[in-house]
């Protein structure tokens, strides 16, 4: 239906929008909260799963109700169901 009406999926289906800028910065919208936070691993809850970010020197620059900016040197971004 979202495809048919050409509405962005993150708006229509409340899906997370993850923007990765190289391996230095990740911008996440529509998150549902923080599950784990260390300087090597960050686990963020989404509507239907978990995003697991691993790397070195991870740091949450800004965290608001719906958006989050993470800084650091990333190794991988993984979706866990």
């Amino acid at each position: 239906m979202a495809d048919t009406m050409r509405i962005p999926k993150d708006v229509a289906m409340d899906l997370p929008r993850v923007s990765v800028c190289g391996d230095r910065e990740i911008f996440i919208e529509n998150h549902k909260g923080l599950l784990e936070y260390t300087d090597t691993d960050i686990r963020i809850r989404m509507r239907d799963g978990i995003i697991h970010i691993s790397g070195d020197g991870l740091r949450i620059i800004v965290m608001e109700y719906e958006r989050m900016v993470i800084d650091g040197r990333f190794r991988c971004v993984e979706y866990e169901k």
């Binding site: 909260g33 923080l34 599950l35 936070y37 300087d39 949450i60 800004v62 965290m63 608001e64 109700y65």
Partner: protein, 398 residues
Amino acid sequence: MFKKIFKFATGYVIIEVTGKNSERFINMCLHNGLEICDAVPIEGGQRMNIRRRDFGRIRRIVYKCGVRVRIISKHGLKARCSSLRRRCGFFVCGAAVCIFFLVVPQYIWCVEINGVYDADTEKIAEALRECGVYVGAKKSDIAELSEIKDAVLRSSDELNWAWLYMEGSKARLEVQEVTPVPAVDDMDTPTDIIAACDGVIRSAVVTRGERRVNAGMTVTEGELLVSGKVAVFREGYPEKYMYVHSQGRMIADTIRRESGKYSAQETLRIKTGSSGKRLTLELFGKSFEMFRDISCGYDEYDVTEEVYDLKLPIFGYMGISAVVSRVDEVRETVHELSGDEVIARAKEELEEKICRGLGTGAVKTGEELSFTEKDDVYDVELRMYFRENIGIEVPTEE
């Protein structure tokens, strides 16, 4: 940049959240609309920034999550102001210094008049005062410097040139006095020529007036040499006189004498090497002595003064001077002079006295020195022989 300024303006608190549910604490903060920045994981929790106004709202969340929150530091404008409030004295002093540097150079704190030898300094200072240049006057109220210079020149006939300089808070007036005009003989006034001292006339050249002496004659002080009253009648006719301004050159051999008593003992003031310093502050035209007793406890002392003005590169003289008086202890000792030394000094002094009373074109032809000594006191007499013009002009008596 604007975000940083906004963050600084609103203020923020760096807190450390420790406990099992530190992530939950963050989530609950977000659900309650609190913004979290710069979250850094630490051992057993996180360190983060939270807005100052939000800090009061986390108490309930802390209670629910069972975490411990510790304030690391407070930042922002309000925190900076509250920390600076304790330095109130410092800022008051700083403000006072700023006001001082802004206000003081706007006034005159010292008026200096240089180059005055014979002129009346008070009169010049009064002329400056009338033009608004005095201690405590506001510089902006002062008229054009060239106008003040003209006013000073008009006020005194003794001045040839003047210029006023403004050096910070100091007004410096440089003046040059008028060179006296040589006296011009008033040829219309009848005068006689009389002898200034005793002597034997060697030559008498009279260009105007009636000669009363000739070469070889001995004259005494005050004797008439040339008369300005000239007879213009023939024998047998009624007496008739013409009064003229006498002129002539009366060269005579003269003797000048001077004598005096001179002691063979001379008192010398020798520095002992012990010295002290006394400070006097001159603040805005007023003098304040820092020490009541300038003697430094010495019985005999000599004082030399040095003045230091406070001058700053942009502001110039700031109206503050320090006068440092160096007080040297001295010891008076009596020094015995030899006879030759006493005579030499006496001769020098007596010669100076004689030369002060000499006429024009005097030439020394000889001298005699005699003395007697009694109880280390020398009675010295100096006789000097001159060939000189002894004629001086005096008004003719009718």
